[in-house]
Symmetry: C2
Subunit: 205 residues, 2 copies
DNA sequence: GGCGGGCGATGACATATGTCCTGCCGCGGT
DNA sequence: ACCGCGGCAGGACATATGTCATCGCCCGCC
């Protein structure tokens, strides 16, 4: 191993997970973790400052979604390959990751050995995706929800009432009810909580 | 380090996290990971088989909660010290962990270095708890919900309707509404979803 | 120019939800 | 023996939610 080591940026909000992953990757003698961030809105700055070869991004992050950050990197740091690392293998997540230009998609359920291997394969130009997940994503079809329907669903989390949602979105209550109703229809569910759950499961939010 | 190494049982459902923690602990030359399990209902058997000194348990596990498993260990493997490792520092979780006889309570947000240190301190007889969390747990007071109110709340997740809950709990719909209503009152919230959220936040479920 | 589709809104309506009150049982304390 | 409290149930009532039909506006498309 005479060549330059692979420079990795690590974005993960859970401290223990972040530290453990950094240590693991650091133990590989061809990999070097050059930056660690805990928030999504710190990813771009860190990438600009440290010019990593691979960015390992969680999706659920405070500040900015890892998927959105991946899109940022595509534009502002095009040489950096993006590897998404997430708890949930939601079909919609994978789809959005690919649309954002990610080079790979890993679920945290897999064995640790996968991780360093995926970093190397991604850098070598391969696209790393679990085949089963890939077929699931394709068979699931695209997100049928309109932007406002998604907004209404997101805002209806935590038991917000229709009035709350209307206030948050600056809409009339009737309009909110209509959006929720159509979201319920499109998700083939019975009420907003089920619709929210299903939309999340599909990765549509 | 001439003595026998500390035998650790690791219970964590997320594969990558479990593998990373096992590797980290294994790197310490006075610690040995003798068993790894991914499900809560595998903890007791593994502990009986491997007789660990310390059991490192996640709370949210498939099969059986880490807190319940801790109570099992207290009775069936009393020599094994229990260290709870969880994503959420909910006051009620800490309270229940202590009632279940846990010797320590760690949140996954902390730095990785804490982990091995906590294992050693727990084995030395110390009780390992974040002081800020401890005071929060005490000031929060005990769980005001009755068993049935908790049941009704838990069953009301995912947008289940009153009829669904009644069926799942073998109760009349009126009874379910009464339980939910009183749970809403005790949590000082406006509807079941808020009550569910608040109860979860407090660690009452 | 017509058409579809998303956005925003309204009103009417049926159903679901949450509240309150009453009542019955059993249990544990005083 | 009495009381309080939790479990369980029913009824009555007000409010919240979900559905549907209808409308206007704007935009992109053929």
């Amino acid at each position: 191993m005479t060549g330059r080591r692979i420079r990795v940026l690590l974005a993960e909000d859970q401290g223990m997970m972040r530290g453990a992953l950094a240590l693991l990757l650091g133990m590989e003698d061809d990999i070097e973790v050059v930056a660690q961030v805990a928030a999504g809105d710190a990813i771009l700055d860190a990438a600009l400052a440290h010019r990593p070869d691979v960015a390992l991004l969680d999706i659920e992050l405070p500040g900015r979604s890892g998927l959105d950050a991946a899109a940022d990197l595509r534009v502002r740091v095009p040489d950096c390959r993006v590897l998404i690392l997430t708890t949930f293998g939601r079909p919609g997540y994978l789809r959005r990751a690919m649309e954002a230009g990610a080079a790979g998609f890993l679920v945290k359920d897999g064995p640790v050995e996968e991780l360093a291997a995926a970093v190397r394969r991604v850098l070598a130009g391969e696209t790393v995706v679990d085949p089963a997940l890939a077929t699931a994503a394709l068979s699931a079809g695209p997100n049928p929800l309109t932007a406002r329907e998604s907004d209404a669903l997101k805002a209806s989390a935590d038991g917000a009432t229709v009035a709350d949602i209307a206030a948050r979105l600056h809409l009339s209550e009737s309009t909110v009810r209509n959006y929720l109703s159509s979201a319920i229809g499109k998700t083939a569910t019975r009420n907003r909580m089920e619709a929210l759950r299903e939309a999340r499961r599909q990765g549509w939010l």
